[in-house]
């Protein structure tokens, strides 16, 4: 188990969003957290990436409490791509990706040949080698998201946490980003944890699906076991048919209509 949340209590200020949640991330898997808006999935991901300190319980990285490890050491093991990240204006792709080397650099080792090759490998992996000199704000949404993923890649961590990496992207760009995530997993052996909204894409690109509602894990397992009509009703208040995806054989959700909240259902 690479990353574990043990009985964590999470929230902002006095507002508790997640209380007493347990979750484990196995090495070498792609785990996707799904759930309705406000269910605490991004909050959970932020806690796993030590961006949010739990008010109760603990997060363990390779068995050690993440909040007691030097944050720089964590940054060499675990990379985080926040939701809708912002970069300084005019920043070029190469500059952004180079920033990923930060945890490996010191005042006397600021740009080693190792840094250089890590950045180049990240850029070639994401197909951005030719765009290195372009300012980030001139790229398309999909290219920009790939640039951010390149930064996380250049960081050289074998754990990657991606918070809604496909938001604001059109379908083709969503596929482009998720294909990249799949290659990070299959070719580079990275362990990936992400939050996604699109259930069908989540089913396609995931080994382990975690469905959350109201700050609790409702179901977890392979997409085929988790994405059932019963679960969609329970988690999303959604009546839906689940059929087989004609391309991949994974579950395909066809929405029928909204259901009343569980309290008013019999």
């Amino acid at each position: 188990m690479r990353l574990r949340a043990v009985d964590v209590k999470l929230g902002y200020g006095d507002r508790v969003i997640v209380d007493g949640l347990d979750l484990g991330i196995e090495a070498g898997t792609v785990t996707t957290i799904i759930g309705p808006n406000g269910c605490g999935k991004s909050t959970l991901l932020r806690a796993l990436g030590r961006l949010l300190k739990p008010s109760g319980g603990e997060v363990l990285l390779d068995g050690k409490r993440i909040d007691r490890m030097p944050t720089r050491e964590v940054a060499k093991i675990l990379g985080v791509l926040p939701q809708a990240p912002t970069a300084p204006e005019g920043l070029t792709v190469a500059d952004l990706v180079a920033r990923g080397r930060h945890p490996h650099q010191t005042w006397y080792r600021q740009w080693s040949s190792g840094d250089e090759s890590a950045v180049n490998e990240a850029l070639s992996m994401t197909g951005l080698l030719d765009l290195g000199e372009r300012p980030l704000d001139e790229l398309s949404g999909g290219q920009r998201q790939r640039a951010w993923i390149s930064m996380a890649l250049a960081q050289g961590t074998d754990l990657l946490l991606l918070d809604e990496p496909t938001t604001f992207l059109d379908l083709a760009h969503q596929i482009e980003v998720l294909e990249l995530v799949r290659r990070l997993h299959s070719e580079l052996g990275r362990t990936v944890v992400m939050v996604l909204h699109d259930l069908n894409l989540a089913a396609r690109y995931t080994d382990h699906l975690v469905a959350m509602r109201g700050g609790e894990v409702v179901a977890a397992g392979p997409p085929g076991d988790v994405l059932t009509e019963g679960l969609l009703a329970e988690v999303f208040d959604l009546a839906a048919k689940v059929i087989e995806d004609p391309v991949t054989g994974t579950p395909l959700v066809v929405p029928v209509g909204p259901l009343p909240p569980p309290a008013r259902r019999d």
Binding site: P88, D95, S113, E116, D130
Partner: protein
Amino acid sequence: MSAPAEKARPVSAPAEKATPVSASEEKATTPYARDHRVRERPLRIGPASWTVRPRSAAVALVLLAATALLTALGMRIGDIPMSLAQVVGAVVGDGPDHFVVMELRLPRALTGVLVGAALALAGAVTQAVARNPLASPDVLGVTPGASVSVVAVIVATSSAAGGPGGTLATLGIPLLSLIGGLVGALAVYTLAWRGGLDGYRLVLVGIGVSAVFTNVKYWLLTIGDVNDSGRAMVWISGSLNGRGWEHVVPVAIGLAVLVPPALLGARSLDALRFGDDTVTGLGVRSNLVRSLMVLAAVLLASVATAAAGPIAFVALAAPQVALRLTGAARPPLVVSALTGAALTVAADLVARTAFSPVELPVGVVTAVLGAPYLIYLLIRARRKARS
């Protein structure tokens, strides 16, 4: 120089260092790779490595030379006018001019150089932390705090009550200014801290606190004796007049102690340009870095203000000038300090020659030069916001 995240970064391995990485052949031919190498070169010695921007290095050298020249020009002026050759001769030689230059003119000039450098460095750090080109140590509460405390004591120990003693004049005022500046900064920092340090909030709180201090200062000036207020006014506009080695030494020590940690923090300052989650993800303790860098800026500005009074606009303008000279992504620390030094010495030269034989306080000239510049920055910021 010290800033690794400037506009361009070499992504390609230089030809002589081509690494056996599969991707390295294709990238050496990509067009952007060549541009990168012009703007920023890797410098590698054994296991150590840095990036060097030739343009920044050239700008730094030019500024260094300009500062030396302006300093020497300034040292010509005085009761005994000298030529440039005489000044240089007096520094190395042993004639009667030696005392005048070494004991009177050089310390005054050096105070200007060091104070300018310290203020500009403080400004560059503040602007980087606040991510705001309008931030300066005034916003951190340093200069308003220093002004208020100095004015308060000058007015309280008025000439009617016997006037300030000799100790107050020489040692007391710098010390008061130092304490006032630190207290002002502490007030801003405490009010701005809310579970973390946010650059925007820091600027807002700082402007508020400055306004309060400034108005207390004016109130004190109006209730004070006319002569005391006059003396206080000279101090609060920032002056290099009559500055000796006793002013040079504390600023020099301050710079020697604070420049190395400030430069060490430069890499983290680069990271701070991103959102908080990204910064933490990269392993930077953002609140710690911000607090330490603000502390360094506060100390630098306090020491400088203690020596020469609150010289206006150097801290605000020098980093922005340096930014444009180098084309860097954020105010470069070393070049900002050199710009500040050159700017202050140049302003002092103008202050002493423009209305000769009347000498203006240097702060009057920097304020006159700085005001239009501030307006320019505001207009530019508005235009950018609109577009």
